[in-house]
């Protein structure tokens, strides 16, 4: 059996033990009071004490019901979610004191049960000692000898004087036995509680070590992943150069070759070829510019995501004469750096695809947010593509998104429709 289970069963044992003790003291006191009343020794008894004993039935009823109430409160405290835990602790304390007062401070062990019960609700080194200190204070305050000097109370021993020698001695012995056993149980409980806390500390230490190991692994992985990103970026650059400069240069070479061939034959043809080459070169120039722009989205570094997107849209629509609209339903856009870049890139890449491959003249961008998922939908009225080709920058987008745990769907059957879902990390939102 582990410490925690042992501790819990000690507490349960303490509860039933206290129940027996409270029952014992109240029943013996009540029965004795009734017996004194019926035996003809009432006047003698009153001469001996300085206050009336409690009404026997009342004493039994009050101590019993407050004890039951205390048990119910403790059960609720342990098993239900309580909005104001302080409230229930105060109520438990009131019940404890009520039982003690009803028994005329003849039994104060209930304080120990109360302390044992609330001990587990005080965590942290500063608060850990609070129940123990409070408990021992109240344990000392609710001492019969201390109280009998201030309040008029009658001791259990005075009641037992009614019985002849041996019976009185046995009754007191049983009470003392109960009291002592309760204290022992409390000490056992406290030791178990401390041991459990020490065990917990050990566990936390070992968990901490594992966490650090995991952290180191993660750092290594991050370094590797950076390297991979560099490689990917290089590949992309190569593809970009091949796609733009390669085509352009091929066109220019082909154009110049053709121009050379017709140079002597027809100056007219030469002129036409040269103007074609010039056009191809200009187109190439534009493409290079765009590629360079894509590589360095410094717009993001200078302004927030939304205005960066707006700037990009206006530049692109000016360059392509396409009508691009943004419908932002996601509220304030303020996320982590990597998240913002991914969103920017997806929008940029999709518009580029729509214009370059889809020949669209209208592009609609929609952004929505549900809890921590931001959804971006980019739809155009272009020709689309029956088959999505890898050259469209899709692979790149997928890679970037998967690093954030998001996903992307592309449909080219009726114009391009790109739907990207990006989960936003909690706490990365900057207010």
């Amino acid at each position: 059996m582990d410490t925690s289970a042992l501790k819990n069963s000690t507490l349960s044992f303490m509860k039933s033990f206290n129940f027996i003790t409270v029952l014992y003291i109240s029943v013996v006191s009540a029965v004795t009071i009734i017996k004194i009343g019926n035996s003809g020794g009432a006047v003698m008894f009153l001469k001996k004490v300085n206050t009336l004993p409690p009404v026997p039935e009342k004493m039994f009823f009050i101590s019993f019901s407050f004890f039951v109430l205390l048990m119910v409160l403790m059960y609720m405290h342990d098993n239900y979610e309580i909005k104001y835990p302080w409230c229930i602790i105060v109520m438990e304390f009131i019940c404890t004191v009520s039982v003690i007062v009803a028994l005329q401070v003849n039994y104060n062990g209930l304080i120990l049960l109360f302390v044992a019960h609330i001990m587990k609700y005080f965590e942290g080194s500063s608060k850990k000692l609070l129940p123990l200190i409070l408990g021992s204070t109240f344990f000392l305050i609710f001492d019969f000898n201390a109280c009998s000097n201030i309040f008029k109370i009658t001791s259990f021993e005075t009641y037992t004087e009614y019985y002849i020698g041996t019976v009185a001695a046995i009754l007191i012995l049983i009470k003392n036995l109960f009291t002592t056993l309760n204290i022992i149980l409390f000490i056992v409980y406290t030791i178990l509680h401390l041991r459990e806390q020490m065990d917990e500390k050990d566990e936390i230490n070992s968990l901490n070590e594992r966490l650090q190991a995991a952290n180191r692994e993660l750092e290594n992985y991050a370094a590797e992943s950076e390297k991979m990103a560099q490689t990917r970026e290089r590949n992309r650059l190569a593809r970009e150069i091949h796609d733009t400069l390669g085509h352009t240069l091929t066109g220019i070479i082909a154009g110049i070759d053709a121009a050379t061939a017709v140079a002597d034959v027809s100056p007219e043809m030469l002129k036409r070829y040269l103007s074609l080459v010039s056009e191809v070169a200009r187109q190439g120039m534009t493409d290079v510019r765009r590629s360079v722009n894509e590589l360095r989205p410094d717009a993001l570094e200078q302004r927030d995501l939304l205005s960066a997107i707006h700037k990009m849209i206006s530049q692109m629509s000016a360059a392509s004469k396409a009508n691009i609209t943004l419908d932002n339903g996601a509220g304030r856009l303020s996320f982590g750096e990597d998240e913002e870049e991914v969103i920017y890139r997806i929008i940029q890449e999709s518009i580029t695809n729509s214009i370059r491959h889809g020949k669209a003249d209208t592009v609609r961008i929609q952004m929505t947010r549900e809890y921590n998922i931001v959804t971006i939908t980019i739809k155009d009225n272009g020709i689309g593509a029956p088959k999505i080709e890898p050259g469209f920058g899709l692979t790149h987008m997928k890679e970037r998104l998967s690093m954030l745990g998001g996903e992307i769907h592309v449909d080219g059957s009726d114009g391009f429709c790109v739907v990207a879902k990006i989960p936003i990390r909690w706490g990365t939102e900057n207010d």
Partner: protein, 441 residues
């Protein structure tokens, strides 16, 4: 750390708790209202002064009837048939078991015990609140008896002062005429001297001066202030007390070793005997006079005064008290007032009881004078002024917790002094020491 997942408290549970609380409150209020309609009274049959008494119920019934008439819908409940001798135990038992009546009579000897255990309600608050209630209408000694350490725990119902019985016939035979009301120890001693003699000439004294004259009578008439109100301080070693003990020695010396008892007085062989008003009122008129004092004419006068004192008496008082656990304070106070403050009911004490009314107006009033004179004057009459004067000057009997035990200690101590002829000062010092150590215990 509780990793256990906790359930959120259900609405049904809260509703259950609320319903339970509401039911409990309803039951409690029903119980309360039912009990509000009755008030319980505790009393005993017989006289508290150990004289025959036949009319207890008349007075109780009249008072209850009057109270119920004044408080429609309220019933006074009581247990009848409890004898005076069983009464202390009956009330104490009921107090311990928590079912004592709301209002009950308290015998003088029980008063300090009950008040000392907080069984009796402190009445000062109710007295202050009641504008119609004037405590100065009581004889001071009667009202003071209900006061312990400055708190009023009982309201006087019936008082009996101590006084001196006189065998008028014996004195007339010895040629002693009227004794003045302010007579002194000197007068007392001289008369005792004169009457102590051997009447049948057999060589043994058979006629005596006094029987039953104790230190208490000597103390009160010589201004001995032996105890404070709380019974925590005892001072017996004073000039007044020494004089008193010396006087007892002298008086005792007159009997020359003969033991004189109350029986001797009854048989007409003793001139004086201190007794209570209740004895006088019981045995003076018919039919009890036939049983006791047939051969001589009985009279009563004040106790003789010492050099430093006055012709004073101690007064014992039957009180009415309120249970400290009652929840009907107002009604209980009204019931107490019906018994102790109502002129009509208090007047009935002179018709049905043996003591005296504690209200000055009742004892002084003409109608009472008539009735008491009717009763008292059957055998030659008695000055009603004497009773009022004795009661006016009386002092309350001791009412601290261990009165009975302390009185017994002093009794025994002074008996020793008188029998062994110990020096009064030394003897009193020894008694004082013993009593102090007992009181401090």
């Amino acid at each position: 750390m509780t990793l256990m997942k906790k359930k959120v408290m259900g609405k049904r549970f809260a509703a259950g708790v609320f319903l339970f609380a509401a039911l409990a409150a309803t039951a409690a209020s029903l119980h309360y209202f039912h009990h509000k309609r009755t008030i319980t009274l505790g009393f005993f049959t017989g006289s508290p002064w150990d004289v025959p008494d036949a009319y207890t119920y008349q007075l109780i019934d009249d008072a209850v009837e009057k109270f119920e008439a004044g408080h429609p819908g309220i019933k006074v409940k009581y247990v009848s048939g409890i004898q005076k001798d069983d009464y202390s135990e009956w009330i104490a038992s009921a107090l311990i078991k928590g079912n004592a009546p709301d209002v009950f009579f308290v015998l003088p000897e029980d008063f300090s015990t009950f008040a000392g255990t907080d069984a009796l309600m402190e009445l000062d608050r109710l007295i202050d609140k009641d504008g119609d209630y004037d405590t100065s209408r009581y004889y001071n000694a009667s009202f003071e008896f209900g006061n312990i350490s400055g708190s009023q725990y009982g309201i006087p119902f019936e008082s009996v002062p101590s006084m001196m019985f006189v065998n008028k016939t014996l004195l007339k035979n010895e040629g002693i005429s009227e004794i003045p009301e302010d007579w002194t120890w000197g007068d007392f001693y001289r008369i005792c001297c004169r009457v102590t003699k051997d009447t049948d000439g057999n060589g043994i004294e058979d006629q005596f001066g006094v029987c039953g004259y104790t230190w208490q009578h000597a103390f009160i008439t010589n201004g001995v202030d032996a105890f404070d109100a709380n019974g925590t301080r005892c001072r017996l070693n004073s000039e007044n007390a020494i004089e008193a003990v010396d006087f007892i020695k002298e008086i005792d010396g007159l009997t020359k070793g003969n033991i004189v008892t109350a029986d001797d007085f009854d048989m007409g062989k003793v001139a004086f005997m201190p007794a209570l008003l209740s004895d006088y009122r019981t045995y003076k008129p018919y039919p009890w006079n036939i049983k006791k004092y047939t051969d001589f004419e009985l009279d009563c006068i004040t106790l003789p005064r010492g050099e430093k004192g006055d012709n004073k008496s101690t007064m014992s008082t039957l009180l009415l008290a309120m249970n400290s656990r009652t929840n009907k304070e107002e009604l209980a106070w009204e019931l107490i007032k019906t018994f102790c403050y109502d002129i009509e009911i208090q007047s009935e004490i002179y018709t049905y009881k043996e003591g005296a009314s504690v209200l000055k107006t009742v004892t002084d009033s003409v109608t009472t004078m008539l009735s008491i004179n009717q009763v008292l004057s059957e055998e030659g009459g008695m000055d009603i002024k004497l009773i009022t004067s004795i009661m006016d000057h009386a002092e309350p009997d001791y009412n601290f917790k261990d009165t009975t035990a302390v009185k017994e200690m002093i009794d025994a101590g002074i008996d020793d002094i008188v029998k062994n002829g110990t020096d009064s000062r030394i003897g009193l010092q020894m008694i004082e020491k013993r009593v102090r150590s007992f009181l401090n215990k």
